[in-house]
Subunit: 292 residues, 2 copies
């Protein structure tokens, strides 16, 4: 089964109103909340990262979801399971890494297990901010993004090929969150807007917005690091690589966001068209289940 099939089952059983965006927006409490897992040998390898970097990234992927909602990241709770041969130093470095992401740790649980398993919940404040939804993209809006795509998966390829040090590896292991981009939109928007992060790849982010908003996204420009052109089929990395944690937003054309790249526009229709080609990309989307 694919992750998507599982999510459909979960939606059906729980009848939850909240599944579908990067965060659940709990209006009665004025918060946004998200939870992501990171599993050893599925999402990361201890051969390639350090406990510090792993802690940082584990926090960051959840902070990125809060930012994708437009919320202000405030607290983390950390569920951690560790094999018994893991030493005290691992735990220290891991939590130093978490702390370096800048958000307060409010609790969690630590247990024994066979492999390193991390499940982090992040909570954001919505005071003074307009919260996004993937369903909010509208015909006539533009599509913008916060930075380069593909660098993280290029870094993963380099690690797989035995390279130890490269700026793309840095992006893969220590991605930056896009707090300024998120905050600017959430604090200044007097309109509904769509936003998500590119954790599962740029194409998936665009497709999620198109499907949930029932619009068509026309993409005519994608920012990426020119060095990525040295990789074979580099556009696959740019479009489907994932884990760049850049933000993608759909906002009115006259709304200017500092340090953003305009990558396309929204028209009526369904789906995503990139450089004039409407293709069926779905099989390439990052899927933790199919990788097993």
């Amino acid at each position: 089964m694919k992750e998507k099939d599982f999510i459909n089952i979960i939606k059906e059983i729980t009848q939850s109103r909240y599944i579908g965006d990067d965060c659940a927006y709990l209006k009665d409490l004025g918060i946004v909340v998200t939870q992501d897992n990171l599993v050893e040998d599925v999402h990361f390898s201890l051969d390639w990262t350090t406990p510090y970097k792993l802690g940082y990234k584990s926090a960051m992927v959840n902070i990125s979801d809060i930012l994708a909602s437009g919320g202000e990241p405030k607290y983390l709770t950390v569920g951690l399971s560790l094999p018994k041969n893991i030493d005290e130093n691992f735990v220290k470095e891991f939590y130093k890494g978490i702390k370096s992401a800048g958000i307060e740790v409010a609790g969690g649980d630590i247990t024994g297990g066979d492999k390193v398993f991390i499940s982090i919940c992040a909570i954001g404040d919505t005071k003074g901010r307009k919260i996004s939804s993937r369903a909010n993209a509208k015909v006539g809006y533009k599509v913008i993004t916060s930075g380069f795509h593909g660098s993280s998966s290029a870094g993963l390829k380099l690690l797989q090929n035995g390279v130890k040090d490269h700026k793309f590896i840095q992006t893969h292991l220590m991605p930056q969150s896009r707090e300024d981009f998120s905050k600017y939109i959430a604090q200044n928007a007097d309109f509904d807007y769509a936003m998500t992060d590119s954790s599962d790849g740029l194409f998936d982010a665009l497709l999620q917005i198109a499907e949930k908003s029932h619009v068509k996204l026309f993409i005519n420009s994608i920012p990426y690091d020119k060095e990525i052109e040295q990789f074979e089929n580099y556009m696959d990395l740019v479009l489907f690589g994932g884990e760049d944690y850049e933000l993608v937003a759909c906002v009115p054309k006259d709304f200017e966001v500092p340090n953003s790249y305009t990558i396309g526009e929204i028209k009526s229709g369904e789906g995503v068209e990139i450089f004039g080609k409407k293709t069926e990309f779905e099989g390439k989307i990052f899927n933790h289940w199919s990788k097993q």
Copy 2:
């Protein structure tokens, strides 16, 4: 290393103000939050439970933490990792079990892994409720509890001995949360009070309160199911068994809580004295790390 040692490291590194109670009370957001892990073959065996019961209990252990804080349980997020041989039916039944605990699922993540790993975050509302702390017990207060202790671990012993059906097994696999007890105190207290649940055993709950409040708890009566007397060393089950998810609270002597048992009183001093004996029980406290 023991779980306690890890927690001390985490406290030292994160400098978190929130670690030490069943929940973190995030006053700026008006919420309480908790996260607990359940790991296959550490916390449960799929030979003894069903996916439905596992889902229910996974939700319940976190709901119990919210109740221990005095908060109103509102939302769960569910981090789940499953081996690839797990089928669709497991996921359906697991989420039906979660839903049966009565709290809305607001999101989460599902990933692949080697064993079943569950990490659930629960969020509670604090509106109209006084929130507890283990540090709030005072000399002159009484110690009360919401129900019987030891039944859950007696159920575990029966399962280990091949018994399939017994009321103690029901308590172990499908523990009840004590919402009325918690709500009554939290909505009626105009004083500071201590509360925790007996997830790690009654003695541990008492010791946590004594240590954090710098008082001495004198326990002279413990409610348990008389049938437990058939077990060898049954008082070990009653005191150290854990997983009954009964609440233990310290409140003023004249504050009457419906359906509660008064089990002792608080005097100046340090520690816990049970039936006139002050013993060093700590080695018997439930510890997932030492069991590996």
